[in-house]
């Protein structure tokens, strides 16, 4: 019998922090007191917070045990579609931790922060080169803040033309952040249906585009893993009516060195450094969502911007039409260090990363297409989408398949997104996975399909291995308990 990757093992229970400890313990080396105490103004003084007192070992054991309950990219394959869970290089962490960067105050005079300013300047250049755009801002702290910045730019652009607009076209395959970001700028989301090939058709866009529409937000490749091949036509339709095209670059991992995003007619593109550029997800963040824009829109980018002059690098606020600031300082700087290090380590081989990512995804698609229902039977890009249609007759749903994959030692793919596909299973292997790992994943999926037919109750009861199983999300929502 072949040995599965997933197994049970030596895992510890661990209570909550305040269920441990003893008053008077401390896990911190308090600095030496070399100044006299001065009383705090009485009417302003408080009693301090009710925190548990723990020793250093209490804290270390606590978080070590908690970490063992997590599945990370370093644990195993993490094929979450549209998340690009590629390997997070350790050298990137070393660079971000360098004291010269980690210890730097953001408001140092430019002469004392040349290293950081050079990094910002260079990274803007590199991202511009990769995407084809002349101007970049690294300020947005995440993809959706990049989207917000893009929407602010749209708003500023139309305002500058004297004709504010109130609507934005959003494809039905769009990530939820798209309409949410549009709404923050007062744009009403007008949905555009994709066609039977799973992409946008120019006719559908032309029907909806008018002089009150600020533009369209397009993810390319889209969330079905398909290249929006009508993109140039669509861009023309939108531009002809005075609108702009926003590119959600979440899926850029399919396109580096292959697609010139600027040539597709996009005016503003955001990137997710925590996806395409290998920076770690951190259990939810921090990410980074730089925006890349055309020459015409550069003047609207957030400030300050990094400039190079004869003395070196400096920050300039001299952009009167800038949308302003979305971050107090310059964005998630240590995340930028990691992306920069990644680009310096890969160079032009970033193209190989995209090629292999696409190869891996198509390999999975070919191998699983007889086993799971493939709604769009055509070559995909870096991710492929299946459904649970074949398994429904055994009363097995996408959720059950996802939970059972955990027992096999894989993180589940993205499930139930995009919404246009019922029971979607979106698989994105990334280029990081070797052929053997991918073969193991394929074997696991095939085995699960067989279990669905022969032992569906095994899937309904999955997962069996993890510490907790099928948590009650209804209870959590009906009776929210958000703090102790």
């Amino acid at each position: 019998m072949k040995e599965l990757t997933g197994t049970t093992g030596h895992i510890f229970n661990e209570p909550l922090l305040w269920e441990k400890g003893s008053t008077g313990r401390i896990g911190f080396s308090l600095p030496r007191r070399d100044v006299d105490p001065v009383p705090v103004a009485k009417e302003l003084a408080g009693n301090g917070p009710d925190f548990p007192d723990l020793s250093e070992l209490d804290v270390v054991r606590h978080f070590t045990r908690l970490s063992q309950w997590n599945f990370g990219v370093d644990s195993g394959m993490y094929p979450l579609g549209s998340c690009t869970m590629k390997y997070n290089p350790k050298t990137n962490e070393r660079q971000a931790a360098l004291p010269g960067f980690a210890g730097a105050h953001p408001l140092l005079p430019a002469t004392l922060s040349q290293g950081a300013l050079k990094l910002l300047f260079d990274l803007e250049q590199y991202l511009g080169e990769i995407t084809g755009f002349p101007a970049v801002s690294l300020q947005p702290a995440a993809g959706s803040q990049g989207e917000l910045t893009g929407m602010l730019i749209f708003h500023a652009y139309h305002q500058s033309k004297g004709r504010p607009r109130s609507k934005i076209l959003i494809p039905d395959t769009a990530h939820g952040t798209n309409p949410a970001s549009g709404a923050l700028c007062g744009f009403k989301a007008i949905p555009v249906k994709s066609n039977e090939q799973g992409v946008l058709s120019p006719e559908a866009v032309a029907e909806l585009m008018d002089d009150d529409t600020t533009g369209i937000m397009v993810t390319n490749p889209n969330t079905l893993g398909l290249f929006e091949d009508n993109i140039k036509n669509i861009a023309k339709i939108v531009h002809d009516r005075g609108g702009l095209v926003y590119g959600d670059g979440a899926n850029m991992n399919a396109a580096m060195g292959i697609v010139n995003m600027a040539n597709t007619g996009v005016d503003v593109l955001h990137l997710n450094l925590h996806k395409t550029f290998s920076t770690p997800h951190g259990g939810g963040g921090p990410g980074s969502g730089p925006v890349c824009v055309t020459r015409e829109l550069a003047k609207f980018l957030p400030v300050p911007r990094v400039v190079k002059n004869k003395d070196g690098y400096a920050l300039s606020e001299d952009y009167p039409e800038s949308v302003g600031k979305v971050h107090a300082f310059y964005g998630n700087f240590s995340v930028l260090i990691k992306a920069y290090s990644y680009i310096l380590s890969m160079g032009p081989d970033l193209k190989k990363a995209s090629q292999y990512a696409v190869l891996n995804a198509n390999y999975i698609r070919e191998n699983l297409k007889g086993v799971f229902h493939l709604p769009y039977d055509r070559p995909c890009m870096h991710e492929c989408v299946f459904t649970d249609e074949h398994q429904q007759k055994f009363k097995v749903a996408t959720l059950d398949i996802a939970k059972r994959l955990m027992d096999y030692g894989f993180h589940p793919p993205t499930v139930y997104f995009p919404l246009v596909v019922s029971g979607a299973i979106m698989i994105e292997p990334t280029e990081s996975e070797s052929r053997e790992t991918i073969d193991q994943f394929i074997d696991a999926m095939i085995s699960i399909a067989r279990e669905a037919q022969e032992q569906p109750e095994l899937l309904h009861a999955a997962p069996h291995n993890p510490k907790v199983q099928r948590l009650d999300e209804t209870l959590a929502a009906r009776t929210p308990c958000l703090t102790d």
């Binding site: 139930y416 999300e473 209804t474 929502a477 009906r478």
Partner: protein, 132 residues
């Protein structure tokens, strides 16, 4: 998810295309969602209802009903002023799942235009819609 045949649609009330039910007693129409709707939504965790005194037209959104992973808008089957709201749903939204036609009622509406009530589907017409 249950089949239509396993669900319940009492014939003592009318139904809208958006799966609300409406039951008229002396000029006041009590409104809730049908067994089909609650079954589709799954476990309901929260119901957002308007205030007494608010007025809506037929077809206007008057609230939302939430499951863990989805939000559905509620639309007025008839127009009028809200005269009562089922406060019990704040602490027990599961009533909508367990007892959609009685304990799970949502609002009472003072019927503005009796013709609107007549336009709603009866049990048979609603069943036909669900099966078709």
């Amino acid at each position: 998810m249950k089949e239509v045949s396993e669900l319940n649609f009492p014939d003592d009330r009318r139904y809208s295309d958006d799966h609300e039910w409406a039951k008229q007693v002396d000029g006041v129409v009590r409104v809730g969602i049908s067994d089909y709707a609650q079954n589709q939504l799954g476990d309901i965790v929260f119901v957002e209802l308007p205030d007494v005194g608010d007025t809506f037209e037929k077809g206007q959104e008057f609230g939302t009903v939430e499951s863990v992973k989805a939000v559905s808008e509620l639309y007025m089957p008839v127009g009028g002023e809200i005269t009562a709201v089922n406060q019990a749903l704040e602490d027990a939204p599961e009533q909508v799942n367990n007892d959609p036609y009685s304990g799970g009622w949502m609002v009472d509406v003072r019927l503005q235009d009796p013709a609107e009530y007549g336009e709603l589907k009866d049990q048979k017409a609603y069943l036909d819609m669900l099966k078709g």
